[in-house]
Assembly symmetry: C2
Homo-oligomer: 201 residues x 2
């Protein structure tokens, strides 16, 4: 029971800090803000974390693990690369955009401490493997060097997440549905495949 209670407290600190850092900015937030917002004591917070930066690191590390688990789950879920790409667009991206606070943190305040380049490398490997399989199967031959896949991931990821972020404060006139449709079409035309009929139920 004590362990479950500990886990719940630790999660409460993380969730409170995540939303505060995203709202006010990491620099403008203090431990007392987290105390006030979470209803926990200063002592309780220092039981779990060494300080503000330690909380930020935990938020980013645990967020990345969730993110990666969810991706790996999709990669295991089917043998068809087209089906996996479709799940990526229609299940993974909407889930990701639900947690836009975390994305914002990782891409701004925490961009120095998150090892972004290594994470991009991991995502590139993952996607390159799918695209490789796709062309092994179809005999299309690979026109997609790793650097092109890497660039596409970075530009499209930042494009999609920043569209969602900006849509929170400004009228853009672009819906999530339209963003997913754009992504689907871009993947289809770039790879010369169709993802119709691959959409998850």
């Amino acid at each position: 029971m004590a362990r479950i209670r500990d886990e719940m407290k630790r999660n409460r600190i993380i969730e409170t800090a995540k939303s505060l850092f995203a709202k006010k900015g990491f620099a403008a937030c203090s431990i007392s803000d987290i105390v006030e917002e979470s209803g926990l004591s200063v002592g309780a917070i220092y039981t779990y974390f060494k300080g503000k930066e330690d909380i930020l690191r935990a938020i980013v590390d645990e967020g990345w693990l969730q993110f990666y688990d969810s991706l790996a789950g999709i990669m295991r879920s089917s043998d068809s690369p087209a089906r996996k790409l479709s799940l990526l667009i229609h299940r993974f991206i909407p889930d990701l955009l639900e947690d836009v606070d975390l994305v914002h943190l990782v891409l701004t305040e925490a961009s120095g401490l998150t090892g972004l380049r290594e994470k991009v490398d991991i995502l590139t490997d993952l996607l390159a493997e799918q695209i490789g399989e796709l062309f092994d199967t179809s005999g299309f031959g690979s026109r997609f060097p790793r650097s092109a896949i890497r660039t596409a991931i970075v530009v499209l990821f930042l494009g999609i997440t920043n569209t969602a972020l900006l849509a929170r404060t400004a009228r853009l006139g672009v819906s999530l549905q339209e963003v997913l449709e754009f992504l689907k079409t871009t993947v289809e035309t770039s790879l010369g495949i169709s993802l119709d009929g691959e959409a998850p139920a």
Copy 2:
């Protein structure tokens, strides 16, 4: 002479404020920061602007005018839509990314006061016209509804500019050249055209 001197002072305020707002954030900047950094007096600043928000508005309005003039110049520079799209990628985007401070300001601090939606509409019209001409000429028929063009502009613009912004503080392993190549390939495969041989000298 007095008028030129006035113009120079006003520009100095704008350039100083642009770089300060981008560096420290709009909220954290005061008129005294601008005084200190520009070497001008408080009185001089209030001669030209009513306050901090007025300076921000001037930065955004004048930045947008330059941006739009440069786009309009490209649109007048040739009769070939493919040539114009190529200039957009190889001349306009690199110029835009030179002024990444302004882009950052417009997309964050000033996103509430810049009428982003109207600006996206203007860009959509401009691009829709080129794509329309392209398919009038080639007889390809338009598969590109306005909403798809609009979404592509927003996602790709935010993707490209945020890649440049993030590359300033984090190692991403993506170069400007790779971003431009990605954009070219995306435009080519989406529209089913080739932009080779259209690159500006």
